[in-house]
Amino acid sequence: MNRQVELAVLGGGPAGIGAALAASQCNVNVIILDRGIAAGGQVYRPPTKPQNTGQLASAPDHVIGERLRKELALSSVTCLFDRKVWSVQRGFRIDAIGPTGQETWEAERLLVASGTTERVIPFPGWTLPGVMGLAATTLLLKSQRVLPGKRPIIAGSGPLLWAVANGIIDGGGTPVAVIDLADTRCWVSSLPALFSRPTDLLKGLGWAYKVRRKRVPVISGASVGKVSYEGTSLVVEVVKRNRDGTLRHAGQKIQHLSADALCIGHGLLPAVEVTQLLGADHVFDGKAGGWKPVIDDGQRTSIPGLFAAGDCTGITGAAAAHLEGQLGGLTVAREMGRVTHNSYRRRAQALRRHLLRASRAGSKMADLMMASGSLLDNIAGDTVVCRCEDVTYGEIQTALAAGATGLNQVKSWTRCGMGPCQGRVCGDTVATIASRHLGGRHVVGSWSPQVPLHPLPMEDVVGSFAYQDIAIPEPAPL
């Protein structure tokens, strides 16, 4: 049986919580659907069990997360966790797999707060066990209280580098090095924007200070050339970058470091599967992470009744995401006539004012995370780009040289992006490679969205039954 609701919010992170709370306070009947086991999303994800809290108890993210979870618990929002949404149709019909199997929801309005996917730009050896994303490492440290390794290397770009390095030091690990793609110049140039959020600035400076005090080597303006195993240790080749962003080539002194894990990430991408699936207008914005839905000043997309908020509309960080969510939830309430025009205008204006400040710092951080396309020069012909189907850089280039006209043709010619991750991991990289050949991301396009949104076992959809449970109709009379 289909269950009806006025507003369905996809994603229980900062944006989804903001939207659900704002709408429910205006007496809108709201549900949140989320894959996790509690609200918070990735940034405010709670520890798996209370005794795991440890020194986290006083961490700002943890405090905010606990406060939001408490507010949700006191509200009239119905939180549905452990729900894997696998199909969304206009109108809106949502199909999800929950703890008791298949569920279908019908919602008058839908607000997508699906957050982000981490981007990791391929390099030789990136598929080896022991190499993992920075976001994955954050989850290990924050939510599970487990180290990625005892002597890991942390590499990539953006503030997550320093957050992870700190988490590892606090957890008793010894980072071998922090390899930062940005050099000091990049960080200094972003300082003015960061002053708009002094608490985040202080947090960042605190992280950097602790890393220096622990005498963890920081290699700035450098990147990982390749990784391989020597016995049981990972050997990481460190390549310095030139001032123009290109990597220094052979002949230069290349440093080798030995570690037991490599945590690496190159920024975040908006997760736009659902808004693309529903056919909303999208625009490519490299600074915001990639393709993002076009939204108005009330978080409406181009589809009536469909809203989007948070990092899935462009990376601006958790603080801005929460405000965007609140604005979206309020707009939903306004559309349904649950809040007066004047009250909406007053509250929306206040939210937009805060949002402007929060997103300024957030966007700058996102900008710092964005690695330049020159990192692709580092990929060798036989480097795997599509991890699911083991499609190499060389194969993708061959397809493009043979005349593939866009991302979807590369996919059908090479199987790149056709595996179980549905192109989430390689999509941005393949698009960047293709746009070099074809001239721009708009020309290249993006993968056609597909249902199911995630691979799922057939038995989860149809349930389990025995042969004799299948009703056999009476044969028609002769």
Binding site: R35, Q42, T48, K49, N52, G54, K84, T117, E118, T127, L128, P129, G130, V131, M132, G133, A135, A136, L139, L140, Q144, R145, V146, L147, P148, G149, K150, G171, G172, V384, R387, C388, E389, D390, G419, P420, C421, R424, V425, H454, P455, P457
Partner: protein, 109 residues
């Protein structure tokens, strides 16, 4: 796989321990079977975390080249941690440990 006896529990654990908090109340321990070895996990652990904490890094082999793969995104997106759990293909990062669970790694899934 290397094994060291964990006499206190009367079962085995792999040599590495990456947990920040080493203390574990015996009643809380969840024993799972991984390729014939007993591994001690904590309630609430995902299978991926329980395996990572004791040093099991290879979870499967890629279908085309047979290259070893391990945890990568830990949020159900990359599909790299696909293992056989009680004879079903499941993502290790999305499955919470349960006493007596049987896990097979290393398949070409």
């Amino acid at each position: 796989m290397r094994q060291t006896s964990l006499a206190a529990w009367g079962c085995y654990s792999l040599s590495m321990n990456l947990r920040m908090d080493q203390s574990l109340i015996k009643e809380d321990a969840v024993a799972i079977d991984v390729d014939g070895n007993t591994i001690i996990a904590r309630p609430g652990d995902s299978v991926a975390v329980a395996l990572h904490a004791v040093g099991v890094s290879t979870l499967r082999h890629s279908p085309r080249s047979g290259a070893p793969r391990g945890i990568f995104c830990l949020m159900g997106s990359c599909q790299e941690c696909l293992v056989m759990i009680d004879n079903k293909r499941r993502l290790a990062c999305e499955t919470i440990v349960r006493a007596g669970m049987s896990i097979r790694t290393g398949g070409q899934l």
